[in-house]
Symmetry: C2
Subunit: 468 residues, 2 copies
């Protein structure tokens, strides 16, 4: 192969305008010259072969032991699609009291499952294991705790991986676009089924903090207290950019096939890349400086283009673990829902109108791609000035008068503290005089809410249990 | 295809533990359900076809009108490779005075060419067009300005795209690993050829600021003044992580072929992705909030998974422009050199020892892959405590007593101001009492040095022209 390249390269050799090639020296010396090793690419190719030989993915095996609420009626989505029915996977901890007043709904981040804490039917540690339990931040001796897999996810709730009853095939990218509000409305259908009219609190971090804010603003009479951590009132273009890069990584994978990969090989390379980018945005510089510094995997070996510094092997390992554990289409749909999140009144009103039209017009599932552009019908202009934006946001949360805890982390790049300050600010401007705002100097960046049980845990516990 | 998927999906249908599938409803309703559109993937596929039909890339056509200095002797690289000869592309502006004392060497960032400013042989605007010229920050009425394409680049200097005289084939990933110090040493060979013993100043931003610091520390007698902007004394694990993600995007592209893609299709998809990630790290949140906010490309159309928000179309456009303009192997090698940059004395000493051994042992080019691990021979331990790290850095710059300007930008994520403070700090601790440190609150992030001619330009001019 090198021989072929050699001749071709010579044939095609472009000589720059003032370049003098010392052709006399060419080929007069020979040398050992092996190409660089690429063990990281070898591994991707091995996995590709394994996956081609192996069975279809079964994300349901990643998380087990959840309950499923089946809603057998049409569900009109904000952006015009209608799902003929839906499932919501959920888990619960603690006991609902006689008054049915002690429920706490926990909302997950992008790829979270309902498995927030271990229990008899799934003893693996949950993603918020240390935050939930007897005496813990969310005290299961006091509260009945519910956590769901979001609509659009792949851990038991209806999402792109689900089978469309209308066709018997998986939805893939015929699935309708979703919003955070769609996710919250599906959760409240579950609460209805569970006989929970009013939540003691709605609690979430990251996308979960978007959901909890959305729940508090849209169902103020059903949400007693609000906790929103490392979240925002509207997604910032910088966060959109970071998720855009992840989605592009995924969609550029030749295995993605516009979302119709369920019968073939999953876009595992794109998923791995997307997760590597995501992990960089989830953590922080100070943590990595302390944890990895400039240390290398094998200091006595020559440097390499494949993972070499410890920070690189860490990222490689993190993304390797994830790439077959979560459905690529779910990542697209749920991350897009995050991009579109904006609690502004004008946005909420427009979506409600769209939903109403879709619900009337289409009894079965249609996708956003079907939805005729409502040109001329609607005003798509956005508020332009900072003042207009703020007014629109204040109007969007004007009903959210619950005691509220807003938490921000100074090392968070994905949801910078400016965005949590904005949440506290708009709630206060709307007249909410029970807003607590804490800013942590924790060094785990966006992921602090998963790790810092001392500071984040105590803030939550204080807010949930304080008699006011 | 949908029909096939339909049957197969049914066959493989996994039913969750507590899931009740309402099979009675399946297939009882039909619906229009087109899949989502993916115009961004259509475009990638079109380009793939075009590239398969088209000629080899010629990066030399991207930049023209430069001079080439050919160094016809072996060049021993820090990490053990030896290049049998090398070319350095360069451009100059202004006139060298009779004393040969008015030269300024400008160092580029990662993908920069020697074309910092337009001139008769290339009238296109250069990458620092507004910073160089008569009366400008770098005044061509006073100074003789030199800018090179770095060793390892693809715009006329020797790099992976170059033809190896030993084989007649392009180096590809047989090219030896490079360091910032290798780049600087190649530049000083050019200065020797130009008869420039002493520079009035060494000036650079980003990787250029690593080079200028390196030049000032390693050739203190040849560098009169130092300007280092948005750079660092040692790469931080967070920056390494961000570049790791870009390299992975590139190497994961099936067209990459371990670097031997010159006879085939370039890894254009990976390059585009890498550039999208890079662009996010080059700019800042505040700028994008002001410039794009949450505005969408086509507000009256339904949301889409392909570029939709203006920030997404901007990133798409930026990365589209870049993906065929720069050689993927150069991106790997040069970004890896950035990762390895560390001005600490222990690192510099170790590399010098390696270089000396390689120069003795191997008269022709060998790559890092050839280099036997010097196990037991060397101490690869790193300083561990912050104090040890600082002492090692101070020792590394102990010769750099030039008047120095260090510039940092508060919105820079890739090279946060902490790193520029560190440069100023270690220089002062080393005894340099002419260190100026400015911190800008400019909102263009890392790219501020390319844009903010008012603030960055004036700081440079003041430093270069101030009689002290």
């Amino acid at each position: 192969m090198l021989g072929i390249m050699h001749r071709s390269a010579l044939r095609n050799l472009m000589v720059g305008p003032t370049r003098m090639l010392t052709t006399t020296r060419m080929l007069t010396t020979t040398s050992r010259r092996p190409a660089m090793d690429f063990p990281c690419i070898d591994r991707l190719e091995t996995r590709q072969r394994d996956l081609m030989a192996g069975p279809e993915p079964t994300y349901e095996k990643v998380v087990t032991g959840y309950e499923v609420f089946g809603h057998e009626e049409a569900f009109a989505c904000d952006h015009g699609g209608v799902l003929p029915r839906l499932d919501i996977a959920y888990e619960t901890w603690g006991r609902l009291n006689a008054e049915r007043s002690n429920a706490i709904l926990i909302h997950t981040g992008l790829s979270g499952s309902s498995h927030a804490r271990s229990h008899a039917r799934n003893t693996r540690a949950g993603w918020w294991e240390k935050f939930i339990g007897p005496g813990r931040a969310i005290d299961t001796d006091r509260f009945f705790v519910v956590c769901t897999n979001v609509l659009g996810g792949c851990y038991g709730s209806t999402g792109p991986w689900s089978v469309d009853p209308a066709t018997g095939a998986r939805y893939a990218t015929t699935f309708p676009l979703l919003t955070v509000n769609d996710m919250v409305r599906a959760q409240f259908l579950l609460l209805d089924r569970l006989g929970i009219r009013t939540l003691h609190a709605s609690v979430g971090a990251s996308m979960g903090g978007m959901q909890s804010l959305c729940a508090a603003a849209l169902h103020p009479e059903r949400v007693g207290r609000l906790v929103t951590i490392s979240a925002c009132a509207r997604s910032h273009p910088y966060s959109i950019a970071l998720r855009f890069a992840q989605r592009q990584a995924l969609m550029s994978d030749p295995n993605f096939k516009r979302g119709f990969y369920y019968d073939g090989v999953q876009p595992h390379v794109g998923m791995k890349l997307a997760r590597a980018v995501a992990t960089v945005t989830y953590r922080s510089g100070p943590e990595w400086e302390q944890r990895f510094g400039r240390r290398r995997r094998a200091p006595s070996q020559p440097p390499a283009l494949c993972p070499d510094f410890l920070i690189e092997t860490y990222l490689d390992h993190q993304s390797e673990r994830f790439c077959l554990q979560y459905d690529a289409n779910s990542l697209l749909y749920v991350s897009k829902a995050m991009d579109m999140f904006d609690i502004s009144r004008s946005v909420t009103d427009r979506l409600a109108a769209q939903r109403a039209r879709a619900g009337r017009a289409a009894p079965v599932c249609i996708t956003a791609a079907d939805q005729p552009a409502a040109a001329g019908e609607e005003d798509h202009s956005l508020p332009e000035t900072p003042d207009e934006i703020t007014r629109d946001l204040v109007a969007g949360v004007s009903a959210a008068m619950q005691p509220t805890l807003v938490l921000g982390v100074q090392s968070d790049i994905l949801f910078p503290v400016k965005q949590q300050r904005e949440i506290a600010d708009i709630l206060r401007r709307a007249g909410n005089d029970r807003v607590t705002y804490y800013e942590l100097d924790a060094m785990y960046g966006h992921d602090t809410f998963l790790i810092d049980v001392v500071n984040v845990g105590a803030a939550i516990k204080g807010h949930l249990e304080n008699t006011i």
